[in-house]
């Protein structure tokens, strides 16, 4: 990060926050590396479970998926997770509200949502860069199962879908964390909503394995646009009109969560008692 960009009148302070975010994350790099290392275990489980699902036959097709298509799905999920999924942001926001640490942001000319978003971006960049080598190793190791798209156009459409997914996932986590204004311990609600996100978002299995009516219903919820939509775009699961419709719904949900975040913040601040000072 150059010093001239840090001196920018508006962006400067948020770039500075990002820089601090980088440094904070790198202080505990062992923790980070361990998380990245163990992060490959779910993929290993998926690999063997789905291999058994297809009866060990690489040519078998179930609901339009071959084994390679399924493995590509979970590999792409691993990349999406590292690029776009918040890890501890919700816990940190809730902790700062509960411990009265947000008081300082009420006194400074800094927007808390933008502050948290800068930290989120920094954390994602560090996480992605530390996991990129093992991830590339994994991709190389499993290259015979990869069915990633070859057309550049698909990659180009995937990019905004991933970026919007990151914003949507961040805003959803942020809104849940703001419940800490009213509820002292929000660990349990976070986990309950997270489990719904994983299931209804296509993290456990591709959503098109579900019966048609249930699938169509889930495509109206925000969850489908957190994981399933960007992955589906990438792996060619949607027609062109479906992609456009998907983008419209993804942006609509982002707008709804943004407004909700602003509304929860303004209500929460009135309820806030600045514990501890």
């Amino acid at each position: 990060m150059t010093s001239s960009s840090l001196q920018h009148p508006f962006l400067g302070k948020y770039l500075r926050v990002m820089s601090i975010g980088f440094q904070n994350t790198l202080v505990y790099r062992w923790n980070f590396l361990i998380r990245a290392f163990f992060g490959f275990l779910p993929l290993t489980c998926s690999f063997f479970l789905w291999n058994a699902f297809f009866g060990g036959d690489p040519d078998a097709r179930i609901q339009g998926y071959a084994f390679s298509g399924m493995i590509s799905y979970f590999l792409a999920m691993m990349l999406l997770d590292s690029l776009a999924s918040p890890t501890e942001d919700d816990w940190q926001v809730a902790g700062e509200i509960r411990d009265g640490l947000i008081s300082q942001f009420l006194l400074k000319p800094i927007d808390y949502l933008a502050y948290r978003f800068s930290l989120f971006l920094a954390c994602r960049l560090v996480y992605t860069s530390t996991t990129i080598l093992p991830a590339l190793g994994m991709l190389f190791f499993l290259r015979q199962y990869l069915a990633f798209p070859e057309e550049p156009a698909v990659w180009l459409v995937t990019l905004p879908a991933v970026l919007l997914s990151a914003i949507l996932q961040f805003l959803a986590a942020y809104c849940i964390a703001l419940l800490a204004f009213w509820i002292l311990e929000i660990g349990a609600p976070i986990f309950i909503i997270y489990s719904i996100e994983l299931l209804a978002g296509g993290h456990v299995f591709p959503l098109d394995l579900l019966p048609g009516s249930l699938y169509r219903l889930l495509m109206w919820t925000p969850f489908a646009y957190e994981y399933w939509f960007p992955l589906g775009v990438f792996l060619g699961k949607f027609s062109q009109p479906e992609i456009w419709r998907g983008f419209i719904l993804q942006i609509t949900w982002i707008a709804i969560f943004y407004l909700l975040a602003r509304w929860l913040w303004s209500r929460g601040i009135k309820h806030y008692s600045a514990v501890g000072g």
Partner: protein, 282 residues
Amino acid sequence: MTHPHPEPQADCRQPRLIRRPCRYLRLAWALFRYSLAREMMFKVNFLLWIVVEIAWFALQWALIEVLFHHVREIAGWNKYEMIILIGASQFIQQTFQLLFMINCIELPENVRTGKLDFCLLQPANSQFLATVRKFDIGSIANAGLGLAFVFYGVWKLGLQPSLAQILLFFFLSGNGVLIHYAVMLSIVTLSFWIVRAHGLVVGYYQLFQLTRIPREAFKGIIRIIFTFALPMLLVACCPAETLTRNLWNWNLLWITGLTLILLSLSAAWFRFALRFYTSASS
């Protein structure tokens, strides 16, 4: 202050081999009651955490339902055998959670902040106090849910397990709990060297996923590692197979032996790591 009910004299006359476990059982019981009293202070939170575990279990169940919507068998296991497997896995994991989990999760933080001092200064075994202090009472409900799924699978398959099979199921489940304990303790013990080791706890959760998949699904080096070195593939598969396939062979002997070896190794590892404890706060 004099105690109105002095300790029964019979205790003192018991041999040391019995007296020591009795003392630790009494200690565990006192800690259990303390945990119960604590949990009941925040009843809504207590109930919400039970719902969290149910929600996570529902993820597994939904996956099974979706998979078996398309196929009849996975690695030689049919749908209801898989339901018995995830039920057994849940029962074992929740029992582990009831007894040891919170303490293992808190160990890295206690090492980092120096709170482990309190465990080391008490007149009892340090490993016992560090890992059997707080009980997660809500896990009793979720262990029950796991057992209900086991019964449901057994009922749907029309199985009629003998008393010996049922006893073996519980014995192997207990074995599974101890394997979880040994593996988790070994992982979190790394926190004596690694500061802020929350990633270690997440790592354990990732390892735990292996117990819900039939071991026949795994191949090659991964199967060997997770059967012999970190026997996660045996934790729930063996109790489940006891009911579905009447598992009675030499496997039992070495699973028990392996558990004892893992327990001894993890205890030795913990004692070794304690030498590096620097008590951060003081």
